[in-house]
């Protein structure tokens, strides 16, 4: 565990809060992209020894999470002329507060879990939990399909951080998990968003209400 890892994770946590507090969709995408790049760097510095799988995972994260998916999403909002998130189900300030509480709770919960010697005192586990929580908040409280996809991306980032803790022990699982999840999340959801636009003329999931009791 290098000395750089913790500061990087602190920045990741700050980006989480920024994502919860912003109403501009483009800013949210940029935030998620920055998080992706940071995670790629994190993969390089997390363990003392640098192996091939570290480099592969880092490159994958920077290219996919940092560049490719944000670019796809950015193109989608340009085509769709989406600018702002409409009033979310939970307002921006309350969701920011809930996010802060969630981060604190993650720190508390993680401190109750025993850590392997390599991770003593690091932010890997609480950082992962807080990021997963942030992604979940974005997914459940935002109304635009695009912001929900950003939420999914952030949730995946949380899993990625947890995976980094296990990268030395089981590189294969981590790599496969990252690639496949992103593939499903972004490509399939991207395709659906496209269909949605044609079908409804909008990507506002509020319109998806014909199926209910």
């Amino acid at each position: 565990m290098s000395a750089l890892a913790s500061p990087l994770l602190v920045v990741v946590l700050l980006i989480n809060l920024f994502l919860l507090g912003t109403s501009r969709v483009r800013a949210a995408i940029t935030g998620a992209a920055a998080q992706g790049v940071l995670l790629g760097v994190l993969a390089l510095v997390i363990d003392d020894a640098l192996s091939g799988s570290h480099i592969a995972v880092a490159a994958g994260a920077i290219v996919l999470k940092g560049i490719a998916f944000p670019a796809l999403l950015a193109r989608a909002i340009r085509d769709l002329a989406v600018r702002r998130e409409i009033e979310p189900l939970i307002g921006l300030v309350p969701s920011l507060l809930i996010g802060a509480i969630g981060t604190a709770a993650s720190l508390l919960f993680a401190s109750s879990l025993p850590l392997a010697p390599a991770h003593e005192g690091s932010l890997v586990v609480p950082g992962a939990l807080a990021t997963v929580f942030t992604g979940f908040m974005l997914l459940t409280t935002r109304r635009k399909a695009i912001t929900q996809v950003v939420g999914y991306l952030v949730l995946e980032n949380g899993l990625f951080i947890m995976g980094l803790g296990l990268l030395e022990a089981m590189p294969f699982l981590v790599e496969v998990g990252i690639l496949l999840d992103l593939f499903v999340g972004i490509f399939v959801m991207g395709i659906i968003i496209n269909h949605m636009r044609r079908e409804f003329g909008s990507i506002d999931t509020e319109r998806l209400t014909s199926l209910r009791e």
């Binding site: 025993p114 392997a116 699982l173 999840d181 014909s210 009791e213």
Partner: protein, 515 residues
């Protein structure tokens, strides 16, 4: 070798389906795949093949489920060509290929002894299901698909987090982390408890989402309501059951660690909650396809409840796993027949009740927006006022109507069907193991479900049929015979359990509870 073939043969046929030029013969690849899969399954179960790799193998529960899923797929595959012949305008190439790929992926979940591989296979299941749900290409199926993917992807992500936690529990204990089930079971007593416990909770939530347990079931009514009968069959009987098996594999690790009580407690509560939520939503629900979805939530609840009670109820859960998978085929395929002929998913209001007006309107409007499930407008049915609610089934569609009625009797656990035996075993297990309160709650909820489903279904089968239905739409041999066969299986399991099957069920329960 056989196990690899179980996965690769359907995938190979899926590829053939994508490349096959002639639309007329393409759907017949499905029965071909179904027969091949059944033969391979029987070979795999009977032969107990030597393990080539620790990553693939069949545990006793997977053996049971493999044959059940295979029978289920074969039945739906015989139904498929007739169904697809009615939908000439749709993308049948992708539909056929995805059905076959789904079969391959379900087999992969069942045969995976590496928990990471199992996760990948379940994720791939989600992927292959997406085009199947969007087959009708209308706004409603798009909405269903969005919810299915969003909720399902979050579930699968949480399951991944749980898998990482499980790996961490080995890492923390200073063991070489391995996700091969037998390694984990062997090392279980030494795994780090806090990580194991929180990992199990995450895995239960994650895979429970794929199973459709309440409160993670929200995608289910939409997806099953919009899916065609054969897709609903494979989702409710195949994918949900496979997700249940995934949870059981983690439960097995908990049991081996000496913490089985922790998992059982969670399952007991989650099971009762799912049955209760389903029972509440099923009361007065007129949309019969959504009714089937809630019935699936209920039965997933019964499965985890059985394992949660433990003891002899575990055996009941194993019986129920197979019975439920087969009876789902009867219900979804028969419901598909009914939907196709009536063009409506709404049951008539039972006598003495006036339909809620907004509900009627919505059903009507929705059917109007759903041109997929009726033949192209022809001279015989210009405006097609067939959004009339379903009634008089026994007169208009005697075969499908009777099968649906019998299927509902079976799914509500009436004797002499196999589901009666399995639910009775669970109830007796509850009282025998000192879970009397849970047993009584279970019985009360079963009764509520019976009343809820019964009132809707009776309104469908009785009375006069709407006169507006075009006469040329009726049952055919291919849309009826597979359903009859499945119903016969459920009936057979209730009347007589051969010694070989008895051993198989007992082995499955013993594997789960044993060391």
């Amino acid at each position: 070798m056989v196990l690899a073939a179980l996965i690769l043969v359907p995938l190979g046929l899926a590829l053939v389906a994508l490349l096959w030029p002639a639309a007329r013969q393409r759907p017949w690849l499905l029965p071909l795949g179904g027969v091949a899969h059944l033969v391979l399954s029987i070979a795999a179960v009977a032969g107990r093949p030597a393990q080539l790799t620790p990553w693939l193998g069949l545990d006793p529960i997977a053996r049971l489920l493999l044959v059940a899923v295979s029978v289920l797929f074969l039945s739906t595959s015989l139904y498929a060509p007739g169904y697809l012949a009615l939908k000439p305008g749709r993308d049948q190439r992708v539909f056929t290929a995805c059905l076959l790929a789904l079969l391959g992926m379900i087999s992969a979940i069942l045969a995976a002894q590496h928990l990471g591989l199992m996760w990948v296979a379940l994720e791939a299941c989600t992927l292959t299901t997406a085009p199947l749900l969007y087959f009708h290409r209308n706004a409603r199926s798009l909405e269903a698909l969005w919810k299915y993917l969003l909720v399902g992807s979050v579930g699968i992500a949480i399951a991944f987090l749980g898998t990482l936690f499980l790996a961490y529990s080995a890492l923390h204990a200073g063991l070489t982390p391995s996700l091969v089930l037998s390694d984990l079971v062997g090392d279980a007593p030494r795994l780090s408890r806090p990580w194991l416990h929180s990992g199990f909770v995450l895995l239960f939530i994650g895979y429970g989402t794929k199973m459709g347990l309440a409160p993670m079931h929200t995608w289910k009514p939409d997806a099953y309501g919009e899916a065609s009968g054969l897709v609903g069959t494979l989702l409710a009987g195949g994918v949900s059951s496979a997700a249940f098996l995934a949870i059981l594999r983690f439960h097995k690790i908990l049991v081996a660690a000496g913490d089985g009580a922790f998992g059982r407690q969670i399952m007991l509560v989650a099971g009762l909650l799912s049955i209760a939520v389903a029972a509440a939503f099923m009361a007065r629900l007129r949309d019969f396809k959504r009714l089937l979805a809630y019935s699936s939530v209920e039965h997933m609840g019964i499965l985890v409840l059985g394992v949660g009670i433990g003891g002899s109820a575990t055996l009941g859960a194993m019986l129920h796993l197979v019975n439920n998978a087969l009876v789902k085929g009867v219900l979804f395929l028969a419901a598909g027949n009914i939907h196709r002929v009536y063009g409506s998913k709404r049951a008539a209001a039972p006598e003495g009740l006036t339909p809620m007006p907004h509900e009627g309107e919505r059903g009507g409007a929705a059917d109007g927006a759903d041109p997929a499930d009726r033949p192209p407008p022809s001279a015989t049915s210009p405006a097609l006022a067939s959004s009339a609610p379903v009634s008089g089934l026994l007169r208009r569609l005697p075969w499908s109507g009777a099968l649906f009625l019998l299927g509902v009797l079976a799914v509500t656990g009436s004797p002499p069907f196999g589901t009666f035996v399995s639910e009775l075993t669970i109830v007796r297990g509850a009282f025998a193991t000192g879970h009397g309160a849970a047993g009584i709650a279970f019985l009360a909820l079963l009764f509520a479900v019976f009343v809820g489903m019964g009132s809707t279904v009776l309104a469908m089968v009785q009375g006069p049929a709407p006169s507006t239905l075009p006469a040329e739409r009726r049952d055919t041999v291919l849309t009826i015979a597979p359903v009859v066969a499945l119903l016969a299986c459920v009936l057979g399991l209730g009347l007589y359990l051969p010694a070989g099957l008895q051993t198989a069920f007992a082995e499955a329960a013993a594997w789960l509870e044993g060391p």
